[in-house]
Amino acid sequence: MATEATAPEIHGHRSLQHHFENMEQQREAGTLGMWVFLVTEIMFFGGMFLAYTLYRSLYPAAFASASNHLDITLGAVNTGVLILSSFTMAMAVYFTQIGKRRPQVLCLLLTLLLGLTFLGIKAVEYHDKYEDRLIPGRLIPGHSFNPQVQQEGQPVDPHKLHLLPGATVEKVEMFYWIYFAMTGMHALHMIIGAGLLTFLLIFSLKGRFDPEYHSPVEVIGLYWHFVDIVWIFLFPLLYLLGRHLEHG
């Protein structure tokens, strides 16, 4: 494809698909398409947010106890990592639009690395939960949900679950199922995002993007920001709410 490179122009650009009249129309369609897709994503996560809201209000103590057991440091670091990656993604779009290739490649690479860092930290967190036997149900065969509960008067063990008054292990399991469903679905979106970024990086290295044709970067950027925003909601809802009950 790169061999038949011609000077970019509005009509007859090499990346113009046959059924569009011009690049403007093609770009508009691409961007609108992604926005519409993101609306479906909101509805997709919406079902889980609804379940979360319902059970949080039904079982506040159990949800607070379970939430307190999450690693707030790793969660906070991950939040920072994602916000930073959103910034580098925005810069990548900017450099594509003004046609600077080297910083564009660099920003895409940074975004990808930050995304992978997030996934790595998430994997560490999941592993901790696995060790503490907090994976709900039979999600992992032969390793069912069976956390140790901190008893009153015993030395504090960070691997044990401290139940607030009114909390039961059964409802904690409900929290962890919602936690794994939501963060798992989010992580799946991150993995897809990382794949898309890899694709962008390859095409960017090949010099496929220019100020006339940058909608793939822009559109995947939109997707990346969306995935970040989902996390911005997940972090306080899952990690922060109810923490004062333990420490306050």
């Binding site: 369609a29 479906t40 609804l50 709900p136 149900g137 039979r138 999600l139 469903a181």
Partner: protein
């Protein structure tokens, strides 16, 4: 009265989208929306006849009260699979994926949908979902009812729930991608001069349908996914034994599945608007009211799901709000019916097959819609919910509404799609048979329902037998009527009369190109200077009776 003038149509060149390329590969890898529409047409017809087979089994079983033909386990699977196949694999894709796919780009003067590759992808996703579902049916079937109510589906059912759920989950993405494609296409691909208020009403209704597809389908996707995990991994958002709430499932399920009714019937309303206007050679009375009522249905349709839960432990006040909104959503449908009827006034009505379907639709949809009011009315719904009254009501909407529109549209655009005419005599005959058979099948069920016959009963008290015998008789007529078009459509592809570019003499954009159209639809991008259904110049517009003088823009 004026006489019709022949619209300018290019002379038919030999190359069209069907013969532009040959070979299986040219079909399976096509990005042409028209070919994809045909791929969909073939596959949904396949699913329609499977679903129809199940319907016949249900009706045969219910001929006698004892439940002697099928065992109860088999019967439960049969009605479940009838629902799943008909709803998810026939009705939801029926009009949008075939007629919508074929016509949306043509009606707005575009070369294709905005995302041709995604369009093809959506067909493959549909096919994958279908194959998995068929696998589930062959492996042993599923017996939860198409509603998958928990905790029966999660903990108690001993059938292929996860595989079926997976099929529906995957199929959902096909619907989402179709809706996404339509919305973007209608927004960005309109030909010069094709303003929003010049669009045929078919496009407005598909726009509204697409909104529901993209907003509702993700919710059923996540719900079915959670259901599958719950069954596989013993986790429990919906499981009362684990602190979950089984009624939450019903809320999530109906949040999609009620609007899904409008996914089925809105496109059909779009088809009916086309048929009524074009076969009476008249502009639609109150165009903008019909257009906006589609959007109103799409929006209000999302606010009424709770009327499926009037007999669950839902709060009484929630019930009242949902009841109120359910009555409100009936109004836009009523507006449509009145406007269609008013369009016929002082028009020139032809009795071609598509128009017969459209006229049948108006009657059947009126009955279907009005009986919906019985179910929106709280106290009456308490008595009627989960009885045959409900079954009759939604069949009036889905068969009397959605299917009639689909068949009418298929006849209407068949010359454009295939380049051949269907046999008119047989068409009229089968339309009549289907109308009679349909009413005989479902009218008695209203009475049986009010008398208290519960739905999903394999055996029933003998006093209900008379209604079931009538229903089964009607279903045989209906089934026979359905076979006739299936035969003559196939027959006409080879032996039908060649169709002209504009066999009905209509002004719509899709008729201003050859039949069948070339791959890129038009020789050159059309420039639109006329309104939808503009048979005569606007200066001749008549203001009716004392209802004036404020002229609505038509």
């Amino acid at each position: 009265m004026r006489a019709i003038e022949s619209f300018e149509v290019p002379a038919p060149p030999r190359v069209n989208y069907i013969n532009a390329q040959y070979g299986l590969k040219s079909w399976l890898l096509t990005k042409d929306h028209k070919r994809i529409a045909l791929l969909y047409l073939g596959s949904i017809t396949f699913f329609f006849f499977i679903g129809g087979l199940y319907a016949m089994m249900i009706r045969l079983e219910l001929l006698t009260p004892q439940g002697d033909l099928l065992q109860s386990t088999t019967y439960n699977k049969v009605f479940t699979q009838h629902g799943i196949i008909m709803i998810f694999f026939f009705l939801i894709p029926s009009i949008p994926a075939t007629l919508g796919n074929f016509l949306i780009p043509m009606m707005i003067g575009a070369k294709d949908l905005a995302f041709p590759r995604i369009n093809l992808l959506s067909w493959y996703i549909y096919l994958l979902g279908g194959v998995i579902t068929i696998y589930a049916l062959l492996a042993g079937g599923v017996d939860t009812g198409w509603t998958f109510y928990t905790p029966f589906s999660t903990t108690f059912s001993n059938s292929y729930v996860v595989a079926t759920g997976l099929g529906i989950f995957i199929n959902g993405f096909s619907s989402i991608l179709t809706g996404l494609n339509f919305i973007v296409t209608i927004h960005t691909m309109r030909a010069p001069g094709m303003t929003w208020f010049r669009m045929p009403l078919f496009l407005w209704s598909h726009y509204a349908t697409s909104l529901i597809m993209i907003l509702g389908t993700p919710v059923i996707a996540i719900t079915v996914l959670l259901l599958a995990f719950e069954r596989l991994a013993g986790v429990g958002i919906f499981n009362p034994a684990l602190g979950g709430d089984p009624v939450l499932f019903q809320h999530l399920f109906w949040f999609y599945s009620h609007p899904a009714v409008y996914i089925m019937v809105l496109p059909s309303m779009g088809v009916i608007s086309e048929l009524i206007a074009n076969f009476s050679r008249k502009n639609i009375f109150g165009y903008s009211f019909v257009a906006f009522s589609s959007l109103a249905i799409a929006v209000f349709g999302f606010l009424v799901w709770g009327h499926h839960l009037f007999v669950t432990p839902q709060s009484v006040y929630a019930g009242m709000i949902f009841s109120f909104l359910s009555f409100a959503v009936a109004i836009p449908s009523a507006i449509k019916v009145f406007n269609w009827t008013a369009t016929l006034y002082k028009s020139s009505i032809s009795y071609d097959t598509p128009m017969l379907y459209a006229l049948g639709f108006i009657g059947l949809f009126t009955v279907g819609g009005m009986t919906g009011l019985f179910l929106a009315s709280l106290a009456v719904d308490v008595h009627l919910s989960d009885t045959y009254f409900v079954v009759a009501h939604f069949h009036y909407i889905m068969v009397g509404g959605a299917l009639m529109g689909y068949l009418g549209g298929l006849h209407y655009w068949w010359p454009k799609i295939s380049g051949r005419m269907y046999p008119e005599g047989w068409g009229r005959f089968s339309a009549l048979v289907i109308f009679v058979g349909f009413n005989l099948t479902f009218l008695p069920q209203f009475v049986a329902g009010y008398l208290g016959m519960p739905r999903r009963y394999h055996a029933y008290p003998p006093e209900f037998q008379v209604f079931n015998v009538l229903s089964t008789a009607g279903a045989s007529i209906l089934g026979f009527g359905m076979l006739i078009p299936a035969i003559y459509f196939v027959w006409s592809m080879r032996y039908g009369k060649h169709a002209e570019a504009n066999p009905w003499h209509l002004p719509g954009l899709e008729w201003r190109t050859q039949s069948p159209p070339p791959t890129e639809n038009f020789e050159e991008t059309p420039i639109v200077t006329w309104d939808a259904y503009e048979f005569a110049p606007r200066e001749e517009t008549e203001v009716v009776g004392k209802f004036g003088p404020e002229l609505e823009r038509i």
